[in-house]
Symmetry: C2
Subunit: 314 residues, 2 copies
């Protein structure tokens, strides 16, 4: 089965022609996160280009699957809320766009859920029907699958706010409005402030990074910088806590960690595995913590199951 | 429809004959939490007594619904895990017990889930199909219903560990093994230690309570005791954080607070409502925070829907 796929983030958008578990051709564009309408027009053009390059006629595709960085109603194919980015998104009729641009039906999903679907269909969660995914990046994303179905909830918010479960009720204000969310205590956007507030920061090489990234943090921690070690330990505890939170909330067999920060997986996974092993209350046995396998392609590879492929999780 | 109902906690067990949304007769026994087998025999005797007193023959009942304070497999009617109490429970065949003792089929559920079911069927969540419940007591219980179905998860742990979502990753070790759980930071069992560790405790009237209860805490806080005020503020923040955690995890329309501590509801609910209103990220509108209505009877009144009454949530 072939399909078109789009993954719209705040700073990049990817589009692809996929066939079952592989990407035939794909392309990534910069995005500014301001207006979705012009970006969609651009993505429609690029998708027609990809079809032309691959010699595949649009009607050979099952549809267009769109992963979007916000709260999405997959049943009506509408974007419901966007937290500042793409303010025009809730007004857009994605079905009309896909019909006019490509003559195809559309399926829309939250990007973290679609990434989980990709990992379930083609990546680290193949064969596992109870799985949660945490994506560590600019923010912290989440998604949950129970008994082979993505969890949505009444207002399509369930599962996808895994980064907004609390880690520290006395902690920092999160951009979502809550206090001490996992994302506010350990994400790329929160990292510079966390470092600045750590005693000794001014004398640490981290103070020369602009802005500090997790790659910087892990590098300087490995080199023995005390501030970097302190912040590293703290962030690893937050992420371990997030894993336990999702295990206690959704009862999965496997916890996947993905997202750009997982380029540093060897600095991250052992600590999270130890934390889960020590702290999760799972009398049935031990949930496995795994790195996601598909990187940036995870959401794109969720296209086939999204569009009703082998088995469509609701 | 009539049914028998049992609610087994660590220190008490209740049994009742119910008809639809009301309890016809009921009885409560002390329980020691040590062995379930003799308690079940006793409860079987009491249920036959209740039937006799009410003049209802056992076959007039749809079955026996059992709420149990542990992790339960409702499909096989087995108790899976008990965290120290009733160590013999996983070995017991509840179906055989109900057949021999009463000639009736049995349905078994976690007590917090069955309490939610009772509130949904006969209490504060009537007509609301997306609801979470937090029970504040010796421990902190949780349950979640999504689209009219109780959430169970692969190993029947989903939803019922709401008290074991994290509130403070730097916090206290919980009896579940995790760190800084809601229950470890604000429950009746945790309260004495929390008070003792608060500066000024020795000079506070709280130091004369043995052990400190939330009723003591709220009374002394209202009277202006500084230590009591500090601990009250802290616990209210933890419970508000728990409400936000469950809203972000399960996307409900209504959050119910129940359990013995809610005897002090006027000291608790306004603060939690304000916290949810300020902190929950719910672009669709505002989830309502309500007090549970059925008190100790909630789980017993879950019997009819448990046994396949008007509509059986899976």
């Amino acid at each position: 089965v072939k399909a078109l796929a789009i993954d719209i983030g705040g700073t990049h958008a990817a589009c692809a022609l996929v066939e079952d578990r592989r990407i035939i051709v794909s392309e990534t564009l910069d995005a500014d996160g301001v207006d979705l309408a012009p970006l969609l027009r651009e993505l429609g053009d690029r998708l027609r280009d990809l079809l032309g390059r691959a010699g595949v006629p649009a009607p050979a595709c099952a549809g267009v699957a769109v992963a979007f960085c916000g709260i999405v109603d997959p049943q009506r194919a509408r974007i419901l809320a966007t937290r500042g980015k793409y303010a025009d998104a809730p007004q857009l009729d994605l079905q009309a766009w896909a019909r006019h641009a490509l003559g195809l039906p559309v399926a829309v999903e939250n990007d973290a859920r679609m990434a989980l679907l990709g990992e379930w269909y083609a990546g680290a969660a193949r064969g596992v029907n109870n799985v949660v995914m945490i994506t560590l990046g600019t923010g912290v994303g989440g998604a949950a699958m129970i008994n082979g179905r993505l969890l949505h909830g009444k207002h399509y918010q369930a599962g996808c706010l895994g980064g907004h479960l609390p880690a520290l009720f006395t902690g920092r204000r999160c951009i979502c409005g809550a206090i001490g969310c996992v994302e506010a205590e350990a994400s790329t956007w929160a990292l510079p402030a966390i470092c600045r507030e750590t005693p000794g920061f001014d004398a640490s090489p981290l103070s020369q990074c602009d802005p500090v990234t997790f790659e910087d943090l892990f590098r300087y921690a490995r080199a023995g910088d005390q501030v970097a070690e302190t912040v590293r330990t703290r962030c690893l505890k937050v992420w371990g806590t997030a894993a336990v939170a999702l295990i206690h909330a959704y009862d999965p067999e496997v916890v996947l960690f993905g997202g750009g920060v997982m380029k540093s997986a060897p600095d991250i996974l052992p600590s999270i595995k130890a934390h889960v092993s020590e702290c999760a209350w799972t009398p049935w046995g031990e949930p496995e913590v795994r790195a996601a396998e598909l990187g940036n392609e995870a959401a794109l590879l969720g296209a086939i199951p999204m569009l009703g492929g082998p088995r469509r999780p609701q």
